[in-house]
């Protein structure tokens, strides 16, 4: 066992924490670590209060107006095969805040039963607040049970607030249904960078519905993904302009082996001054990219890895 602050965790849990939240020790600032269905450690600061929900599983995070340069870590680790949980985490972010929130879930399943974590995150972002949100998903373990993650994210943005979301799922998650919805008031700005790689027989769907409701609201939703082996992905991004606003969605994908990808970009303009753009491109790695790296001394396989690493960086 490893001493982690005032709790003890095992080596697998430690590795999962490193993968999903870059945590090598107890983080600075507020945190809540959830392990195998229970809160294992929790810490609030003067400005950031984390409290358990009374009516459901999960937490409420209250961030005081004007809080700046602080962070909240809320990683989830699961190492018990056959565990299924549904967790609600709500974030109430005060006006004028500037904070970083790091979530993420790591599942290690060595057993025959499926392990599933469905996390519903709701963000209420106050006027002028600025949030950076990082969410990483990771799976490992040799069991036949699936590792399933179904994250739901709801974002409610008040005037002139900013949210930058980085969603990463690179390895080991067998099945994912990700749904992200956002409602933006005037002057609010949403930036999403999603990076996804699926392998073996994995399946991942990612759905975005972004409503730009106020004048000057902007959204930029960009996904880069790689589907290898026999995996399947669906990227479904819809931006709805209900006011003079601007929106951009992009899906850029590499397919390998028998990988399959369906990209469904959608735009809906309900205001004559809504400017909306979508782009989507799917294809295999270009042969001349591999040849170029081979002329630098890399093998074909090393070249592919470098190209994918760069693409998903």
């Amino acid at each position: 066992m490893i001493q982690f602050g005032n709790i003890q965790i095992d080596e697998i849990q430690m590795r999962l924490l490193e993968e999903v939240a870059d945590l090598h020790s107890v983080p600075e600032g507020a945190f809540n670590i959830r392990s195998n269905g229970k809160s294992a450690a929790r810490f609030s600061t003067a400005n950031i209060e984390i409290e358990p929900k009374e009516d459901a599983s999960g937490i409420n995070v209250h961030i005081k107006p004007g809080t700046k340069n602080e962070s909240v870590h809320i990683p989830v680790v699961m190492t018990q095969s056959g565990l299924t949980e549904l967790v609600y985490n709500d974030f109430y972010i005060g006006e004028g805040c500037d904070v970083t929130i790091v979530a993420g879930c790591g599942i290690d399943n060595c057993g025959p039963k499926d392990s599933e974590h469905d996390g519903i995150h709701r963000f209420y972002v106050g006027k002028g607040a600025k949030i950076r949100y990082v969410e990483k998903h990771y799976g490992s373990g040799t069991g036949t049970g699936k590792r399933i993650l179904n994250p739901g994210t709801e974002v409610y943005m008040e005037e002139n607030s900013t949210m930058e979301m980085e969603m990463v799922q690179i390895k080991g998650v067998d099945d994912t249904d990700r749904t992200t919805t956002a409602e933006l008031a005037a002057g609010a700005r949403l930036v999403v960078r999603e990076r996804l790689m699926t392998h073996d027989k994995q399946r991942a769907t990612s759905t975005y519905v972004v409503n730009l409701n106020g004048e000057g609201a902007t959204a930029d939703v960009v996904s880069r993904s790689v589907a290898r082996d026999d995996s399947y992905q669906k990227f479904d991004a819809k931006i709805i302009g209900n006011a003079p606003c601007s929106g951009h969605t992009e899906c850029d994908s590499i397919i390998m082996d028998n990988g399959r990808i369906l990209a469904v970009p959608g735009l809906e303009a309900n205001d004559v001054d809504a400017a909306l753009v979508h782009e989507a491109a799917i294809g295999k790695i270009a042969g001349d990219q591999i040849i170029k790296l081979m002329t630098l001394g890399l093998t074909e396989q090393e070249a592919e890895e470098q190209i994918i690493n760069g693409f998903l960086k």
Binding site: R224, D252, A286, D288, Q289, I291, K292, L293, M294, T295, L296, G297, L298, T299, E300, Q306, I307, N309, G310, F311, L312, K313
Partner: protein
């Protein structure tokens, strides 16, 4: 030293075989800068790609320092010391200039060391080192980064396929300086440039002329260059090949 013995390369096009390179034999000695010239479509770039292993000859042999590399992979040839700068450099989404230079050097260069290669090709390193090698770079910028990767690789045989293509006049002078410095520090390596620019031919030790897949002339610069002036095999910087008379 690189030796080509009776190299022939055919392609199958429109239901018939077409000879691109016909029975070319030549030796590229060490410590020399050699320029291959000749009219468009004469087989110059194909010859360079055959040496780098991107194409395999239909018949003949390629020897590098006495070792037969005819059927060796691109990777193995690169490891043996062959470097290749593409005529049309490849773009990579996500890979940064720094990544590419580190891959070329085959080791974890410091940012300062990597920047030195960019400075050598006339790019302000600070502005480029963290840029992605993607479509945000102009053709000329990409070309210079391509040359920087070959410098970082420090090959014993460096091949540049039409390095001047897509480069503006100002950069062209810079490019000549790059090759002149390479020539000064050539040591035991050798440099092969595919070009029909007179000013690049002018810094050559030896010139090879390819036409219709045949090697038609080979000799020292002083011997060959005067014969080429005014033909499409040696065009002044300010004129395009289409304006020159075919040789």
């Amino acid at each position: 030293m690189l030796e080509l013995r009776n190299i022939t390369f055919d392609v199958h096009d429109d239901g018939q075989d077409k000879e691109i390179i016909r029975d070319v034999s030549l030796t590229l000695p060490d410590r020399k800068l050699i320029v291959v010239t000749g009219p468009n479509g004469g087989g110059k770039s194909t010859l360079a790609r055959l040496i780098a292993g991107i194409e395999t000859p239909t018949s003949g042999q390629i020897l590098l320092n006495g070792e037969d590399i005819t059927h060796m992979s691109i990777t193995d040839r690169a490891k043996k010391g062959i470097g290749f700068a593409f005529q049309q450099p490849v773009r990579f989404k996500g890979l940064q200039v720094l990544d590419l230079i580190r891959l070329a050097a085959g080791k974890h260069l410091t940012v300062v060391d990597a920047c030195a290669y960019l400075s050598k090709v006339g790019l302000c390193a600070r502005d480029y080192i963290n840029r992605e090698v993607n479509s945000s770079l102009s053709g000329g910028e990409l070309k210079r980064i391509e040359i920087a990767t070959v410098l970082a690789k420090a090959p014993s045989l460096a091949i540049f396929d039409e390095p001047e293509a897509g480069i503006d006049l100002w950069s062209f002078q810079n490019l000549i300086d790059v090759f002149q410095r390479l020539r000064e520090h050539i040591q035991d390596s050798s440099i092969l440039i595919i070009s029909h620019q007179e000013r690049i031919l002018n810094i050559a030790d030896e010139i090879i002329v390819l036409r219709d897949g045949h090697l038609v002339r080979k000799g020292s610069k002083d011997e060959i260059l005067p014969e080429l002036i005014g033909t499409s095999a040696a065009i002044p910087t300010c004129r395009g090949p289409e304006e020159s008379e075919a040789m």
